[in-house]
């Protein structure tokens, strides 16, 4: 018994950033889906090279050094799920170097997502709430008893733990008071609690008896107390939507997985495992149900071409594609799927490919020799290298006819040069 290459490719795409032949061959050796899931969750194999050391300022050189380091990790790691979830938490607990005015604090928060992002959800949320990057991004460091301010309080419930409709405006006001006094040290680099700036009075939250709520207790109340079920469904739906297919918290697929998440004490690895082992994850509905985001698609392309990220892409490309880490445009995050389908996406993707094909051709040149191959051999090798297991008959014949056309025009020498471009622009390669 072993799993099919179609199943293995699905699991590799969702848990990581592309499908190489070597990865596919290894995973199809797994006896069953459970064994395969265990393999992609072998967190102990995560590389240990450190995140770059960076400046305490808006420094675009350091920003790009960090971003390419991270994208290169995505490209090369044997444990893609760690990077996927680190990116997920980065988009869940959004921030911007421009607002925070320090890439160092962004990197510090990134390490937090990396260290805690597969662990206890409450520990992660508590740590993020008092992380300097978040305290500055959502202004909570200046939230004082004499003029409570709602920015963090609202997003803690709306975006981070509960979702709209599961709290009201009175809860927002009470939550803002609960989070007064949670500030920063004088150098802005560490959390410090100021009791004299905290509103210690009684507050009514979620219709519970009034008490002197103080910030961190509210997170415990949400994730483990009276809002635990709602909160676990909210988080489960968000993670399910990036790993399986897009759902809302009230989708029938969510409740049983959220129950497993709670039973596991809010362990995020247990949540990921439950999703990857669910029938829904392996169902036809989940297959190709997601659009590869720009970062996913770029990394998968460079992985297929064997080109390092630092050679393969410019900072301006990442910005034009609209998914620049550490530079979220607004608190709502990047969006997904439909956000990445537009003429602009097609333009920026082909514009980038028209340049990266030169890098590929003059470095790794993965398609060397195909200038003298038959059109079918060209197509087979292109799909194999790009991890496209089951191209549609139309896509296959388009690639075959393209190679035949170049040959009949006397342009066969250009096949190795242009095959990366046409492969990365297949509809099959742009979905996950």
């Amino acid at each position: 018994m072993s799993i099919s290459s179609s199943d293995a490719a699905h699991l590799l795409r969702r848990s990581g950033y592309g499908v190489t032949t070597a990865e596919l061959d290894a995973l199809t050796q797994a006896a069953d889906r459970q064994t395969a899931v265990d393999r992609v969750l072998a967190l102990q194999n995560t590389p240990t090279d450190p995140v770059p050391t960076v400046d305490d300022s808006i420094n675009f050189v350091d920003w790009w050094r960090t971003t390419t380091w991270w994208m290169e990790r995505m490209r090369t790691t044997p444990v893609g799920i760690v990077e996927k979830m680190t990116l997920f938490w980065h988009d869940h607990f959004v921030s911007s170097m421009i607002k925070v005015m320090s890439i160092e604090l962004g990197v510090k928060q990134h390490k937090l997502f990396r260290d805690l992002g597969m662990g206890d959800f409450e520990a992660l949320t508590q740590a993020v709430a008092v992380d300097p990057n978040m305290l500055i991004y959502l202004d909570n460091w200046l939230n004082m008893s004499w003029g409570p301010q709602e920015n963090f309080a609202r997003e803690l419930m709306e975006l981070f733990t509960l979702g709209v409709g599961n709290y009201d405006e009175n809860d927002v006001a009470a939550m803002a008071r609960a989070w007064t006094g949670h500030g920063l040290t004088g150098d802005f680099h560490n959390y410090q609690y100021y009791d004299w700036a905290h509103d210690g009075g009684q507050k009514s939250l979620f219709g519970l008896p009034a008490r002197a709520w103080n910030g961190p207790e509210t997170i415990t109340e949400i994730v483990r107390g009276s809002k635990a079920e709602v909160s676990s469904k909210f988080i489960t739906a968000k993670v399910f939507s990036i790993l399986a297919y897009p759902v809302e918290p009230d989708d029938p697929a969510v409740a049983p997985i959220a129950a497993q998440f709670r039973a596991a004490g809010l362990d995020i690895t247990a949540l990921v495992r439950a999703i990857l082992l669910s029938d829904e994850f392996w169902s036809p509905r989940a297959r190709f149900a997601l659009v590869r985001s720009p970062l996913e698609w770029v990394v998968a392309t460079l992985k297929a071409l064997d080109v390092p990220v630092s050679d393969g892409i410019l900072d301006t490309d990442v910005v034009a594609m609209g998914q620049a880490p550490f530079l979220h445009p607004h608190v709502g995050g990047w969006g997904a799927n439909e956000a990445w389908v537009s003429t602009g996406a097609s333009w920026t993707r082909s514009d980038w490919l028209s340049r990266v094909r030169w890098v590929s051709y003059y470095s790794s040149n993965p398609f060397a020799g195909l200038e003298s191959a038959t059109p079918a051999e060209v197509a087979d090798e292109g799909f194999r290298r790009f991890g496209i297991i089951e191209p549609s008959s139309n896509t296959y014949s388009v690639v075959e006819n393209w190679a035949a056309q170049l040959r009949s025009d006397g342009d066969a020498a250009y096949i190795p040069f242009n095959l990366p471009m046409i492969m990365a622009l297949t509809p099959e390669f742009q979905v996950s």
């Binding site: 202004d139 190709f288 609209g322």
Partner: protein, 408 residues
């Protein structure tokens, strides 16, 4: 609206309702139609985060000034430092050029704007403002309007100068082109035979379904249309020497209007207006950028387009009048919008909201429905049908003084 453009719009709307969106996307006709000289164009500017209306139009005299000083305390902007606006309000000190435009009758201000329900979440309120609907729907008000044209499905009818397409211009059929600054247009060199062969292959991906779900088919169809539209966009400056951000984006927007490639609506956006802290410093900078961006836009816009283009500025909500400990303000309710251009009816078109009679959450209560601003823009400027687009009749504000292509 002239009878010609009205007829064309209605014919297209009938055709659209007869066949609906059931035509496969890869069968849509391509090719931009140039606009007639009496058709209006719109630049819609989204100020993301929730613009503080009191920082834009500042009370300078009378009872509202007293209430403003009481609410903002030491952060109240000095009345003497404000560029002139109305008799008892001035503009933010950073808006000197806008003040001049206002004095010349080229700015319609709509203060106290909002929808019938207060949505204090950024995402919900942005969706409501851009869809003109309190219940979530997947189309924007301008996207629905553009769906009515016979060249529907032509993404160059609306262009977003950004990486993604805002809801404003998303229709059932109409897909706006996202045109991020600086993007090259691959596949447009007719002399590059190999690239043309490759581009033809990319087009052919949409010949039939890819058996990889609906996203793959949409991507294939979008890729084909992107190549078709790329050749129309060749030569269009996609960057400028203006500083990155709203100033550059609005200059690119002017180039798009100048190019006459069938574009009726351009969407741009600026972020950072979520001023929970250090509000005065932030709005001074942000509104200064906006002021420069508006000047840069009209300076770049061809002279024969000035009386055919208007700039609409919107934000998802206003902010509370009260100040927080971080010298900013929280999400509010009533906000402010502006319509800018030589053909607007200049002045303040609504009553500024009360600073003393607030709602239960201490927010200003709207005095005018947002859709009363959208309606005249649709009917009087874009030649559309506001009843159909907005799903109801909203008494239109008299913000349009002269129809497109004429001078007031």
């Amino acid at each position: 609206m002239t009878s010609l453009s009205r007829r064309r719009f209605l014919q297209a709307a009938v055709a659209a309702s007869a066949v609906g969106a059931t035509i496969p996307r890869w069968m849509m006709p391509a090719g931009a139609l140039p606009l007639a000289s009496d058709e209006g164009m719109l630049l819609v500017v989204n100020l993301g985060g929730g613009l503080d209306s009191l920082s834009l139009l500042v009370p300078s005299d009378g009872a509202r000034r007293s209430a403003y000083e009481a609410a903002r305390g030491s952060e109240a902007l000095a009345a003497g430092s404000l560029p002139p606006a109305t008799v008892d309000h001035g503009f933010n000190p950073s808006l000197t050029h806008l003040s001049n435009r206002f004095s010349a009758g080229g700015v319609a201000l709509v203060d106290g704007i909002g929808l019938p329900e207060s949505l204090r979440s950024h995402s919900l309120s942005t969706a409501a403002v851009q869809s003109a609907s309190l219940t979530p729907i997947p189309t924007g008000w301008l996207g629905r309007h553009l769906d009515g044209y016979s060249d529907r499905g032509d993404e160059l009818m609306s262009v977003a100068v950004s990486s993604t397409v805002p809801l404003h211009v998303r229709g059932d059929v109409n897909q706006a082109a996202a045109m991020p600054p600086g993007t090259g247009m691959w596949g447009t060199d007719p002399n590059n035979r190999v690239d043309q062969t490759t581009a033809d292959a990319v087009r052919a991906f949409s010949n039939s379904p890819a058996d990889h779900g609906p996203w793959a088919d949409l991507i294939a169809a979008t890729g084909e249309r992107a190549l078709d539209k790329a050749s129309l966009s060749v030569g269009l400056p996609t960057s400028s020497t203006a500083p990155r951000g709203i100033r550059q984006d609005m200059e690119i927007a002017a180039h798009v209007f100048n190019a006459d490639i069938g574009t009726r609506v351009v969407a741009v956006g600026a972020g950072g207006y979520d001023t929970h802290g250090s509000q005065n410093t932030k709005t001074a900078h942000l509104l200064g950028e906006l002021d420069q961006a508006i000047e840069g836009f009209f300076a770049t816009l061809a002279s024969d387009r000035h009386n055919r283009v208007m700039v609409l500025v919107v934000s998802e909500f206003g902010r509370k009048p009260g100040l927080t400990s971080s010298l900013g303000s929280d999400h509010g309710y009533a906000g402010i919008s502006m319509l800018i251009g030589p053909n607007v009816a200049g002045g303040l078109h609504s009553e500024s909201p009360s600073l003393t009679n607030l709602d239960a959450q201490d927010c200003m209560i709207p005095t005018i429905d947002l859709r009363s601003l959208y309606a005249p823009v649709l009917d009087g400027w874009l030649g559309g049908d506001s009843n159909a687009v907005l799903g109801g009749t909203y008494s239109p504000l008299g913000v349009i003084a002269a129809s497109p292509g004429t001078n007031k």
